[in-house]
């Protein structure tokens, strides 16, 4: 639920986290993102820090789900229907098509000639700073999807 969204329900004051909670969550996410930026895949450190992120987000998702259960459903308009942007469905289709096309193209043409999103992210996460930024975006995405 987005507070102030016309027609939305379930945005009880208790469902909105306090400024202090938001601040500590942002600080925690920032620290975790920086630590993730320093990790190397296939190491115990990377496994542990990724698992910490999973556990923290699972706790957030569980808390949000329990609050929504008592405070009303979120993400629906006043008529009880979910709000879905059709343009996003088209975008998702194009994204999937491009990912599949580059993946298949890489079989014969090589991954360099046909970069998938994964290979582009591999390049981006080659540096600590960009990797920390990607980690922060990933955590923010989780908060946006499963947070209050």
């Amino acid at each position: 639920v987005r507070p102030g969204c016309p027609g939305s329900i379930g945005s009880t004051p208790s469902a909105t986290p306090s400024r202090a909670r938001l601040g500590s969550a942002a600080l925690g996410a920032g620290v975790l993102a920086v630590l993730l930026g320093f990790t190397t895949p296939f190491t115990t450190g990377a496994d542990i820090l990724t698992a910490v992120a999973f556990a923290a987000m699972a706790a957030v998702a569980l808390r949000t789900a329990l609050r929504q259960r008592t405070g009303g459903r979120g993400d629906v308009a006043g008529n009880g229907r979910a709000r879905i942007g059709r343009a996003w469905l088209v975008w998702a289709g194009l994204f999937a098509a491009l990912e599949v096309a580059t993946y298949i193209g890489g079989w014969s043409g090589g991954r360099h000639a046909y970069p998938t999103l994964s290979s582009l992210l591999d390049t981006a996460t080659g540096h600590v700073g960009t990797k920390a930024l990607v980690a922060l975006v990933w955590l923010a995405l989780g908060w946006g999807l499963f947070g209050p």
């Binding site: 987005r2 942007g85 491009l98 996460t125």
Partner: protein, 65 residues
């Protein structure tokens, strides 16, 4: 040539993502954004759990494996 084409397609896709999100913001969220659409599509516990697993897979894929 194929790399340039592929990169151009990725850039266009990223730009359209930003454009759609800006359009949503400009409409004061009357037009749903990406996150709202994803949350709207995953209203049930099963679909919401699947989305969570997808989010976990993304992090695992990027940082752990």
């Amino acid at each position: 040539v194929s790399r340039v084409l592929a990169l151009t397609a990725w850039v266009l896709l990223a730009a359209s993502l930003v454009g759609l999100e800006v359009r949503s913001l400009a409409s004061h969220r009357r037009i749903p954004g990406l996150l709202e659409t994803l949350r709207g599509l995953t209203g049930g516990i099963v679909t919401r759990s699947a989305l969570f697993v997808g989010w976990m897979w993304l992090g695992w894929h990027i940082f752990a494996r």
